[in-house]
Structures are given as structure tokens and as C-alpha cells.
């Protein structure tokens, strides 16, 4: 009796605060989002307690279809570029001489210890029409008039790739590290060429890393509104900016809630696909 009381006290004292915290500041707020998605926006930017499905119906307006298509496309482009650029990079780090490896990984992490907005601001400075790169190119005589680089879709893509590259590289790096070199030797001894070893041995064995890296790139990219704010010219509207606007300028919270639910659903579908091939533990 006393022992079980003590055990319960122990459980409460250790996991209790976390459970309480997650319930209060994560689960209840998420339930609020679902709740508000069924309510009606009133004229003052607030919410009336009239239950409706109209917010969900308005999702099917063509303008939102374009926003979703553009956002998913941007996230896909970001993920593919991060994979193509990041895989060889992860491979090089993983195969570097042993004493160099920790240093190279640290060098990869270092920029990401500093604020992402400050770094994006750095790109903003570089790409401006009157910015450093244009100045430099004009000084070299390569171009006569400055190029319009900032506030384009390309700049947004650059910002996204920049912000997310390490999230692609690190899981891939981990899975390449786990590769057993004797497998590669065996494949080589059995007559497989370099290309064959890569496509038949290395690539399949590092798939968990590729999947984890893709998920960790794709999902955050959907919500990074500040990158499209700083790098994009507001010509293309992305889902993150659309959600942000519903809470700031448009003051249509129910619609913002519905859009967030769409983001959650996309995330859940991707996670569902992911857990078929990898484990949650690889994500953290």
C-alpha cells in the first residue's frame, strides 16, 4: 500500500509537470484551433459562436487551390534540392579522415546555432538590387545593369534551401556513418562497379536517413513565412503567409484555423508514410 503510494507520488512528481504542461499549452490550444475552425468570423475581426462548415467549404475556392499548389511545389523543390546538394556533402563528411570528422560536423552546425532570421537578413543584404553581389558583378564588368535577384521566387527558394539544408544533411550523415564498410568491399569484390555499389548498396541502406531528412525539410518549409516575407516579392502567396495574414491583417481566425488544420493533415499523412520506413526516434 505504502509502496504503491510512493510509486504514484514518484510518477506524479517526475512526469506530472510535463503532462500538465503539454495538456495545457499544446493539446488544449490545438483543440481550440479545431473548435474555432467551425465558428463564424464577425465584422469586428472576432469570432461569433455560430457553428458553420463554411470555413471548410471556402477551402475549395480556386485562389486557395493555387496557394496550396504553390506551397507544396516550393516545399518539394526545396526538399529535392536539399537532397541533391546535401547527400554528396553528407557523404564527404562521413568519409573524411577520422580526426577531421567532429570538426566538420561542428562547422556544419555552427551557422545554425545563430538566429535564422539574422542569416536570412544576410542574404537579403547580399541579393538586393543595390546589394553586394550586384555591386561586385558590375565592378567586374560582367553585367551592366543590376540583376533583380531579391524579391523573386528564386530568392525564396534559395532562402528555404539555406535554412533547411542541415536538417537534410544531418540524418543522412548519421545513416552513412552506420554503413558497414565491409558491405561495400564485398560488393566491390563481387565485381560491382562504383555506380552499381552506390545504387544497389549505399543508396538503399541510407534510405532511412534520406526519408528522415526529407521529412525534416519538407514539413518546416511549409510554415516558414518569414523567409518568403524577407526574400519574396509578395508576388506568390504561400500557405504560411496566408495563415499569418488571417491572424494579422485579414482578421479571419476561423479561416486561419482551417488552413492550419490542412497543414496538420499534410503533416500527419507524411508522418504516416514515414513511420512505415523509419522510426520517430530518428527525427529528433
Amino acid at each position: 500500500m505504502i509502496k504503491s503510494f510512493k510509486k504514484h507520488l514518484g510518477i506524479l512528481g517526475t512526469v506530472g509537470p510535463t503532462v500538465l504542461w503539454l495538456a495545457l499549452f499544446l493539446l488544449i490550444p490545438l483543440i481550440y484551433v479545431i473548435g474555432i475552425s467551425f465558428l463564424t468570423k464577425n465584422a469586428y475581426g472576432g469570432v461569433d459562436f455560430t457553428v458553420t462548415l463554411s470555413n471548410y467549404v471556402s477551402l475549395f475556392q480556386s485562389e486557395y487551390g493555387k496557394v496550396f499548389a504553390d506551397s507544396l511545389w516550393l516545399s518539394l523543390e526545396t526538399t529535392v534540392i536539399c537532397l541533391l546538394v546535401g547527400y554528396p556533402f553528407a557523404y564527404i563528411i562521413a568519409n573524411a579522415p577520422k580526426k577531421w570528422k567532429p570538426f566538420l560536423v561542428l562547422l556544419l552546425m555552427l551557422p545554425f546555432w545563430t538566429n535564422s532570421l539574422i542569416r536570412t537578413y544576410g542574404w537579403n543584404t547580399l541579393l538586393r538590387t543595390e546589394g553586394i553581389i550586384n555591386h561586385f558583378l558590375q565592378w567586374l564588368g560582367v553585367i551592366e545593369r543590376p540583376l533583380e535577384m531579391l524579391y523573386t521566387d528564386g530568392a525564396v527558394l534559395l532562402g528555404m534551401v539555406y535554412a533547411l539544408l542541415p536538417f537534410t544533411v544531418l540524418p543522412i550523415h548519421t545513416s552513412i556513418e552506420k554503413l558497414d564498410p565491409s558491405l561495400l568491399e564485398a560488393a566491390g569484390d563481387l565485381g560491382a562497379g562504383k555506380v552499381h555499389v552506390f545504387t544497389r548498396v549505399i543508396l538503399p541502406l541510407t534510405m532511412p536517413g534520406i526519408f528522415a531528412g526529407s521529412i525534416q525539410t519538407f514539413i518546416p518549409s511549409l510554415g516558414f513565412f518569414f523567409i518568403s516575407d524577407m526574400m519574396g516579392g509578395a508576388k506568390t502567396m504561400y500557405i504560411g503567409n496566408l495563415i499569418k495574414n488571417q491572424f494579422l491583417s485579414a482578421r479571419n481566425w476561423p479561416l486561419g484555423a482551417v488552413l492550419s488544420i490542412v497543414l496538420i493533415v499534410i503533416t500527419l499523412i507524411l508522418m504516416r508514410l514515414y513511420t512505415r520506413v523509419g522510426s520517430l526516434e530518428d527525427m529528433a
Binding site: F25, Y32, L108, T114, N115, L117, I118, P220, T267
Partner: protein, 266 residues
């Protein structure tokens, strides 16, 4: 053996590619730092070296306030995250209870869902309770996304933990508290430290969640910069950003070194 060595050496092509990527990663940081020493007020060309902006930034009240807010939020939210996160990891390690799996999976929710979603969830939640955004709402939000990382990191450390050492301590007459302080805590300290550093970086790096849960009086440095970018940013912002970059890197490098020492002691 020979084959082994061949894999682990630098090839010129690889070195060139890696350097290119590192350049890409560091370029914007160098730009921010370089322009903090520029005599020109415009971030276009480098005209001359000056330390003027490092003095000027102190005159910019709002800017300094946002900088201090950033530090306070990061510090306080890290301490809270480390305390309740470590407790939770210990509880998950020590006890078996109903819904344990539910709790362990719930910890991944803030990690996998886009920050934007729970940022607006918290905004809706606080607003509906008539709480206006202030430092407290900001700190609460930061703890919510950083605490799970502490739990997961400390838990990973505990997974490799030899329970018999704790038992030995108790057999030798140490009570539970003493056992915890002298055996368990030193063993998990590298995990606690790296969890804490993760929480600190997450907080310092955050833009999205702070954007929605900070009030006008509790704006952070990144939010301040976001507001200024379209109109043009003055170099004192670069100076302060440089301080923040250098400060973060120094703190984290130090902790990486301490962590290495702690682990070697084990």
C-alpha cells in the same frame, strides 16, 4: 587495411565541393558581421572600418530592449525546460505506468508539426483567455517547443545507463536523494547539458512562434529585424546581431567542450 585508408582520405573534388557548401552556409553570416564594422550607413559597399555602431547601438533603446528580451526568454525557458524535461525523462526511465507510450509519442508532436500551427494555437488559446501577449506567454511558448528535446536527449542518455550502479549505491547505504545527487545526476549530466543547449539554441533561433506570442513590449531581436528589413536596417542592428552570433557560438562551443570532458570522466 589499405582499402580502408583509401576511403578515408581527402579527394580534391570532395574538398572543393565541401568548401563550396561551407562558403554557402557562412556567407550571409560573414556579411552581417562585416557590415557591422562599416563606416557607411548603407549596407552596399564596404567603405571603411569603424567601431562606431557598437557604441551607437546602446543609444537605440528599443533595439537594446529587444536584445535583452531575447536573452531573458532564452535563459528562463531553458531553465524551465531542463528542470521539467529532466524530471520527465527520469520518470519515463524509472516507472512503468498506463499511457506511458501515449506520453512518449505526444512528446514528438511539437517536434513534427510545423511551428506555425502551434504558434497560432497558442495565440488563439491565450487570446480566448483574455491574456494579452507578454514575456510570460513568450516564455511558456518557448518551453512548449524546447522541453520535448530535453526529455528525448536525457532519455537517450539514460537508455545506456547501468542500473546496477544505482543499486550498488543504495546497497552501500545511500538514500534515494543521495543516490540521485551522487550517482544518477553525474551520469546523466552530459545529456542534461546537451538537452539544455538544444533548448537554448531553439529559443534563440525562434522566429515563427515568437511572432505570434510576443506582445509589443516583449518583442525579440529577430522580430525587430523582421520589422525593419523592408525599410532598410541600420548598421547598429548588424553590430548587435554580431554580438548575438558570437555570444551564442562561444556559449555553445564551451558547453560542447565541457560535455566532452564530462563524458570522458564517465
Amino acid at each position: 587495411m589499405k582499402k580502408q585508408r583509401r576511403i578515408h582520405e581527402f579527394k580534391p573534388g570532395s574538398v572543393f565541393y565541401a568548401c563550396l557548401i561551407y562558403l554557402f552556409l557562412y556567407l550571409p553570416i560573414f556579411v552581417v558581421i562585416a557590415f557591422s564594422f562599416n563606416t557607411s550607413k548603407m549596407n552596399i559597399t564596404f567603405e571603411g572600418f569603424t567601431l562606431e555602431w557598437y557604441g551607437r547601438m546602446f543609444e537605440n533603446r528599443q533595439l537594446m530592449q529587444s536584445f535583452f528580451n531575447t536573452i531573458i526568454v532564452a535563459g528562463v525557458s531553458t531553465v524551465i525546460s531542463v528542470i521539467i524535461g529532466t524530471l520527465c525523462a527520469l520518470g519515463l526511465y524509472k516507472f512503468e505506468f498506463k499511457l506511458k507510450n501515449v506520453l512518449s509519442s505526444s512528446l514528438y508532436i511539437p517536434i513534427v508539426i510545423p511551428e506555425l500551427v502551434f504558434a497560432i494555437a497558442l495565440l488563439i488559446f491565450f487570446t480566448s483567455l483574455n491574456v494579452s501577449m507578454n514575456m510570460a506567454t513568450l516564455i511558456i511558448s518557448h518551453v512548449t517547443f524546447s522541453m520535448p528535446f530535453v526529455v528525448i536527449t536525457v532519455r537517450a542518455r539514460l537508455a545506456g545507463f547501468d542500473r546496477s550502479i544505482e543499486e550498488a549505491a543504495r546497497d552501500l547505504g545511500a538514500n534515494e536523494f543521495r543516490t540521485f545527487m551522487r550517482v544518477t545526476l553525474p551520469m546523466i549530466s552530459p545529456g542534461v547539458l546537451s538537452g539544455g543547449m538544444l533548448a537554448l539554441t531553439m529559443s534563440l533561433d525562434d522566429v515563427v512562434v515568437s511572432f505570434f506570442t510576443a506582445g509589443p513590449e516583449s518583442t525579440t531581436l529577430p522580430l525587430k529585424i523582421l520589422g525593419m528589413v523592408r525599410k532598410g536596417v541600420s548598421p547598429d542592428v548588424n553590430a548587435l546581431s554580431t554580438l548575438m552570433i558570437v555570444g551564442t557560438i562561444v556559449i555553445l562551443l564551451t558547453s560542447t567542450i565541457i560535455q566532452g570532458r564530462l563524458e570522458r570522466k564517465m
